[in-house]
Amino acid sequence: MSVRVGRVVVVGGGVAGVSTVAALRSGGFDGELTLVDAGEFPYDRPPLSKEFLAGKKDLQQIALQPPQWYDDRAVRLVNRAVVTAVRPDLAAVELAGGGTLPADRVVLATGGHAARPPIPGGDDPRVHVLRTAEDAAELRAALVPGARVLVVGGGLIGAEVASTAVDLGCEVLLADPAPRPLAGAVGDEIAAWLHGLHARRGVTTVHAAVESFASAAGGLEVRLTGEDEARVVDVAVLGVGMVPETSLAAAAGLDVDRGIVVDEHQVTSNPAVLAVGDPARTRRDGALLPRTEHWEAARLDGERAAAAILGRTAPATSAPWFWTDRHGLHIEAVGDMASADRVVVRGLLGEPPFSAFGLRGDHVVGAVAVEDSTAVRAARRMIDRAIPVDPVPLADTAVELKKLLRR
């Protein structure tokens, strides 16, 4: 450690913030460590559209860590507190209500909020979004059996909500102007198949955007593009993306460009402030990369930020990975399918388990797997280690993928 850092304040107790404090302590940081979070306690977000929304888990069951964990690591956890300003000039952060916390380093782990595009009538209380446990609890209360539910957006969260709502006995309509949502992330063929799952489970899918909402007799009236007649539903959910929380960074004069701009060590334009997780946007070799709004990326950001504060070498990077669950299937993707010039399917597309590998030349650049976690883990190593592969054995389920890694 070149310069000793005495006090670190992490703002935001999502997976990025909790991973930051975990990695600081396991890396030997022995200074004062404070984690400030606006919520009741740090909880995990992916279950909010899955088990939590389905009523199978409560908030305690999705805590990121048990309360004792923070005590054991001498992490001062300040719940239900909002940071209102970051003042690197004063080596402090300011809290709502007037308090301040001294901080030699501040880690912004502030996540983001669900996007609420300006759709006329979109402020009706029956129009929901899903980002927080409160959002999920409100939505869950509305997802009663027989409820007519409109899900707007067929991306990751929209599809999960549609799936959970069907499980709960709702009548679900899913609207997305894109014919194959997620095509960029999983490739055209798999995107089409995944989207097709909805209809097989009784979800009505339409290629349309919402023009307006209005209160009507018997429910919420929805006008969709390309349809003459309005539809009437009981509940609507917008799953149309997230807006990164960058206001603290902007007010502190940090470089912000649709995300808090960081270098490869998560350090912002002010060396005393770092940013991790959903709002962080990396600049590499002068170019701004797109933000990765996935769970594991947030976790790994935290580990990198801790290494930077400790003056250690950053952990090795790996191809980005995410999972999602819909209609009882576990789907995972790794790397960048969009940069592939050909796709090799392993198994039968449409009959899980199966997977698809995106190749560029003789290198794997991305993969998607349905109920086949080994395929994605193998692909990840092929990408990370830049192992050239022959598409013929790759497609052959009789050939073990681990063998291809050993070549």
Binding site: L64, P66, W69, W323, S373, E400, K402
Partner: protein, 111 residues
Amino acid sequence: MSSGIRVASLDDIPEGEGIAIDKSVTGTADDIALLRDEDGSVWALDDTCTHEDASLADGWVEGGYVECPLHSSKFCLKSGEVQNLPATKNACPHRVEVRDGEVYLFPNEAP
């Protein structure tokens, strides 16, 4: 000390993979995953991931760890210690012995 339960032949477990042994055989609360590292060594942990319902026997075994097939928490093969979220609890380890190509399990004995 008992001589352990013979649960598998070494050849039944490919390197870098695992198999689950049913709790009716092991007499434990959970099934037990026999996990074979790439160096050939065999380890045993409670099979059900401490996060949700995944079987660790279906995980990716490499370099002293098993990675959960659902959300990729990693567990130390030797100690069961969890390495990263989303799981927060350690997996319970069990002692294993390999004799003459046969795998013997000592349920609930520390490795």
